[in-house]
Symmetry: C2
Subunit: 116 residues, 2 copies
């Protein structure tokens, strides 16, 4: 299941429904909570922001450790959580791992939050 | 500090800056992470969604316990976290507490996520 699958389907027949609507399902709430848990950490938010701010949209783990003031294994652990949650992709080139934002991933969470 | 304070200021002189930009500050990352932690729980997401879906935008704690299948003290604990994080307001009338969405609170988090 991708983040986009969690967005409610557009229903053109829904114009005349009563004011109440279905609330989020337990299954979708669980999936969204897991995604938000991956984001709900100051270091991980800073790492995502640093990758996004990087001049070519890609950052080497070796560029990220010093700004956050943590060891490389700790930074790699946080980056792994962001990869598993679908926010970053990782590619290994030579000695280093490089990270890039997944296009639209933050947008999907953002849209889900205003439709829950 | 409100959620809106965390949004980056619009800087009209920034048009000719290099492609890189400032990443989120450690202080703002900490504040946003705390807010996301309040949301990163399946029960709290369901409670927010139920309050939002309620016919008059307000729900009594007595209406919320049965759908989530938890005790009233547990539901009240989750609602307290959402009030403290600025997503709900609480008013006591008679025996029961009533909860209402804070207008714009989810929108603010949503906008922060796409600007980190």
């Amino acid at each position: 299941m991708t983040l986009t699958d969690l967005l409610p389907a557009t229903d053109v027949t829904a114009c005349c429904e009563p004011l109440t609507r279905e609330s989020i399902s337990a299954e979708n709430a669980g999936a969204l909570a897991s995604t938000l848990k991956a984001l709900a950490d100051p270091t991980r938010l800073r790492l995502l922001s640093m990758v996004a701010a990087h001049v070519d949209g890609e950052a080497c783990v070796c560029d990220l450790t010093e700004p956050v003031g943590l060891s490389q294994p700790t930074v790699s652990h946080h980056l792994k959580i962001l990869v598993e949650a679908g926010f970053l992709t990782r590619s290994k080139r030579g000695l280093w791992a490089y990270y890039r934002l997944v296009p639209g991933a933050l947008d999907s969470v953002s849209r889900l939050l205003v439709t829950i």
